[in-house]
């Protein structure tokens, strides 16, 4: 489509980006449109407050952490490439490609997704989720409903359950081991760009 091509040409290094992230040109164009829409001042970079303009995101208990994840440490802005790279984590995994151990882990593999999630918890980036960090996450999700003591007890129990090497923190390996029904679906149900998930979700427990 003409407009696709013209938009694509505006983006530098777009082939490389597509190669790296696996997005199709149509997806890249959509993301670019989205990027431009968020970037109200047309600086070519996004700042935290641009993310903050997203209505719904502001209500998300871990929204601020997710925003933080877009910014590399020390950086104040996000450019389009980084933006796309982070979002690429959530592309549905390519089930068909054979696992080639010599190639680097594709960016949207399950491990990468888990790593991304791990980083949300691990704010100080020491490779472990300490009790304090876990407490922070819990607090952000539960603070209104639960008292501080209850939060602490939950955090304690969680670490007890998940911590296998008894260092009072959860490392990435231990994090991985938690069997997750959801992590398998830690993708956009169908690409990042379309409303809602066409996959059938029959939820018997909801009745």
């Amino acid at each position: 489509m003409g407009s696709t091509n013209s938009t694509l040409s505006k983006i530098p290094n777009v082939e490389e980006l597509m190669e790296e992230t696996g997005f199709t040109p149509a997806h890249i164009v959509r993301l670019y449109d989205r990027f431009e829409a968020l970037d109200k001042e047309k600086t070519g970079h996004l700042r935290p407050q641009d993310f903050g303009a997203i209505n719904r995101l502001a209500m998300n208990p871990i929204g601020d952490r997710i925003i933080g994840a877009f910014f590399s440490p020390g950086q104040e802005t996000v450019d389009f490439h980084s933006f796309v790279r982070i979002l690429a984590h959530f592309r549905p995994a390519d089930k068909k490609h054979p696992k080639d151990p010599s190639m680097p882990e594709p960016v949207n593999s399950r491990t990468s997704k888990l790593k991304f999630a791990f980083q949300l918890y691990d704010q100080d980036k020491d490779g472990k989720i300490s009790r304090a960090e876990l407490l922070q996450v819990l607090r952000s999700m539960l603070e209104m409903q639960v008292t501080e003591e209850q939060l602490e007890s939950i955090a304690d129990r969680t670490i007890q359950e998940a911590d296998l090497d008894n260092d009072d923190a959860i490392s990435f390996e231990e994090f991985r081991k938690v069997p997750l029904g959801r992590a398998r679906r830690l993708t956009y149900q169908h690409g990042p760009l379309q409303h809602s998930a066409p996959r059938i979700l029959s939820q018997p427990h909801r009745k």
């Binding site: 209850q150 938690v178 066409p198 059938i200 979700l201 029959s202």
Partner: protein, 798 residues
Amino acid sequence: MACRTCLWLLGTTFFTCTVRLVVEGTEVGATQGSQPEPGVVGSNHSQAGGGHGSSISGIQIVTFKWHHVEAPYLIALWILVAGVSKMVVELNHSLTSVIPESALLILIGWILGGIIYGADKMQTFTLTPTVFFFYLLPQVILDAGYFMPNKLFFSNMGAILVYAVIGTCWNAATVGLGLWGCWLGGAMGDIDIGLLQFLLFGSLIAAVDPVAVIAVFEEVHVNEVLFIMVFGESLLNDGVTVVLFNVFDAFVSLGGAEIDAVEIIKGIISFFVVAFGGSLVGIIFALLISLLTRCTKNIQIIEPGFIFILGYLSYLTAEMLSLSAILSIVFCGICCQKYINANMDERSVTTVRYVMKVFANGSETIIFVFLGISAIDPAVWVWNTGFILLTLLFIFVFRFIGVFLLTWILNKYRLVPLEFIDQVVMSYGGLRGAVAYGLVAMLDENKFKEKNLMVSTTLIVVYFTVMLQGITMKPLVTWLKVKRAAVTELTLAEKIQNRTFDHMLVAIEDISGQIGHNYMRDKWHNFEERWLCWFLMKPSARKSRDYIFNIFHQLNLKDAMSYVKEGERRGSLAFVRNETKADVDFNKKFRASFSEIMPDIMADNMGPDHVPLSSILQDIVPSVCLVMHEQDLTMRESEDFNAHHLLQQHLYRGRKQHRHRYSRSHLETNRDENEVQEIFQRTMRSRLESFKSAKMGVAPAKKIQTKHQKKDKPQKMPNGNSSDKSKNHPYGDKDLEFSEGDCGSGDEAAGDLFPMRAYRVEAGIVNPAFMAEMDPMDNMQQIPHVALLPQTLNSFDT
């Protein structure tokens, strides 16, 4: 158990009453010939006054004047019988989860039909096309239109249209031609029928039926895109069906020789005229309704009536102009919902919603019962194995082929392709129903010698699809979908992670922009905001668009109601005043069972509408349960249980979980109340914080202007949260389809770290907490529902 016995007795009583009356009526009027009553359900009872042949011998104190009331009595009685049937059907919920309600109702219809036939030796009550199309169908479709999730509908409009138009044409053509071919080949024996008649039959049997589809998909929870596809298709294909039916009917009358290119072109043109004309009529009536509700401030008590009358008029007008009546009423409902919800008083909106559901449900019940009854009539049964079996085969097979073909084409243009599973469900979910039956019953016997054969076949097709496909739909879906992990008790870590991932996913979707902005859509939004809202909405409705405020308002009211209920339960509200150690904790004990009955507060599928508070408050057991517990309560019998329990209670699901936005029997959408509560509390806390720090008197009582400067200094938050916690909600994020700023009047100013926002509150909603009180704590005594907030603050100050 006693209740059940009573119900059974009641049911039997009414059945016998019916039979008795029928028998009596037959005896009286049997010899008088039959005159079909307008409006009476196909009864063949005459209304001869000859029953009173005997001369009057004296003053009669009491007389039995059956004929006096016969027509309305029968109507009312049948409605009652239908209602009682539904009650009987719903007695056992485990049964209805296996067999859809519609199938059970048809069964009851058979039984009733059998009783009547046994009494009368003929079928005195059948589903006549007039009654069906004029009195039973409109409210069902109006309900569908009024509660339609507009955003979903319009964003998938292209696909829906493809399926509705091209799909139906394909079905009609293939079924018709297939049957014709088989007839030529002799598979059906000797019947007096021709190509055109086959095509006509094909066109009326091809259409997916909205009533049947809803009835089955109620039980089967599929994702919303799939749902809207099938549902939307079932509604919009009426345009095609009407045209095809009329065209082929005309062709049959003309005879085969008269058909030339001109006629065919006329047929094609008529499609466009019928479809667009019908929609236009609907839109015009929607405008009328919106304008009318704008002026009905002084007659709020009868406001709801206008909706129904004008909706019905739109249906009849389109019918009068030989346009598509279903399309007309659907678009009327779709277009007016937002404006009338904004314009009308809350109570009127509630009334409209409930009455609409009552009518729709009632009609649907009657339709299915009568579909059953109409079958027990040997006069219409003609059995032709070949015809019937081939029809069944063809509609099934060609539906599958059609859907897969069209999806394959569509997927090239869709950013998100439709999966195989979805296609299977869509094909399998193409149910035929009463509309087909109504159309076939309208055929003229003289032109269509084989009318009875067609009627029989249609009935069998309807039964097959509704009953068999309805029953097997759920197991099919369950079998096809991705297998879930075995449901074992999740560990705490798993639960937390699940929730975190949910939130993460929701956030990423928000960031990447779910719908993405689209030039046309933006233009439409601008147009709508500037012109339509101005024209169609009351000024006061336009202003009170504050999204968070709406939530606040409704949650406050709900809290207040629950508080009062709790107080009444305890004998008095005196417990409120004992503030010392009490911690009012809104503990949701029954979250799981009420998760479906949540207030539609986010309103992202209906646009900003004032969800009537009474619908939240009164029709359900309070989903908020006040539990007073002392701060130092030692509820730590088992830490483990406790932690799980807490998590279970308080972790709310991410937004993605909410599906199934249209339901015939449930009014509220699934909005997790925990999420809403959480958001509300966070927001209110931050607002209170800003007031405490602002240290200035707020504007006079009536109008409250709050400028919300978002500060995220951690020390302000009592419990040292991570930064940027409190929320500002800038309006007009035009990209997100869920933007509540559709007809908003919010300002967006570039702020410090986050934009500021001005909330304007209209008169009448005065929250004393925001009055010129420096310390909200003092106010708590009088305002129980706001008492919650400072308490929560307090609890974190420990």
